[in-house]
Point group: C2
Chain length 237, copies 2
Amino acid sequence: MVIAVRALLFDVMGTVVDWHGGVVAGLETWGAARGISADWAKFCIECHAAFPPLRAEVNTGKRAWANFDELLREALESQFPKLGLTELYQKDLDELVALWHAMPPWPDSVAAMQRLRRRYILSTLSNAHVAMLIDMAKAAGLPWDAIVGVDLFHRYKPAPETYLGATALLGCQPGQVMLVASHPYDLAAAAKCGLRTCYVSRPLEYGAGIAFEAPPKPGQCDLMVGDLGKLADLMEC
Amino acid sequence: MVIAVRALLFDVMGTVVDWHGGVVAGLETWGAARGISADWAKFCIECHAAFPPLRAEVNTGKRAWANFDELLREALESQFPKLGLTELYQKDLDELVALWHAMPPWPDSVAAMQRLRRRYILSTLSNAHVAMLIDMAKAAGLPWDAIVGVDLFHRYKPAPETYLGATALLGCQPGQVMLVASHPYDLAAAAKCGLRTCYVSRPLEYGAGIAFEAPPKPGQCDLMVGDLGKLADLMEC
């Protein structure tokens, strides 16, 4: 193997599952059933963009801990008026939040995880919470050894408590753990904590033709792969 | 199904895996390699009996949080002089602690869990810590949806924080969760927190011919079963 670690921590949304494809498909079905037409791909991106400032408020202590579902409800309530919908009922919000709990895996994810799991501990380290990650794992058939969500730390990535907290829960030292993620900010924060890092390119994460983040430069990550099957190859699984 | 819940929380040692059989077999091999003969079954029971007072010290705040491995090291160091061994090296302790991380499942456990998992969230709620539970799951092939150990709460069962903490992490209300365990004290504490309860009879938990705890009386648990396959039958899985 190219790199000696005991455990792999995976970012989930974008890295392992196709949140944009899954949520947009769900929104289209939801809207069609209610006669609401909208550019759901754009709407989904706008909801997604509402998260970073909300997470920063939690991490800086400006607001009390609130999990992904709670922040998503706020984002939905702020975005829906743009579609001309001024009133969302509790039932609507419940249905919409549920869309974010069941996203399809990228085509390579499950088979590669099954290979990697034979040799390594596979855990989530996602900005979702444990209950949401369980729903996502059951919906997509993801074979995790452990589910670690940021509700265990009451901080969002990229706060160091999340990387170091997950590492400690797995009984590892930082150098024994590699973060696998498609987002450079996440990998950079993990590397600062002493973790090894693997960038996975997911060019379709935000939908076809939309690229939000430049990939890391060579040397900024320990590994850079095009999909999780390539990671399993490199790790000799 | 006989009882409507969303998630099953399992005690692990004794309920799902045969800690006594696994550890005694490991101790026999370990002793034979060093020319140490002892009544390892008795030794294993005595180590086990050292735990409750140590856990109580943590729960009452008399001592800081210490996980299963740390308490086990203390128990081993207090028990080994009885065998005429006055010095245990760090390497010995590491090897002995590792025996407690790899226990065989009871013959019915894995198949029943695979059935139950189709319909319910299956999580551990063990007095072991997350890293130890991951090792046990990988060694025994236990198909958990989530790993919850008491290191997440810094309290040992039967402290209510453990049952209520696990319930909250799973996104459930107490009445939506059932604790499955072979120990009446554990089930009684879960019931006090509002969880449903299922007693599993494991007459060989402490070795053949040794019964430590009387089963609960009828009416003290929601369900009482002879093995996990019977639970899967009752839950219509």
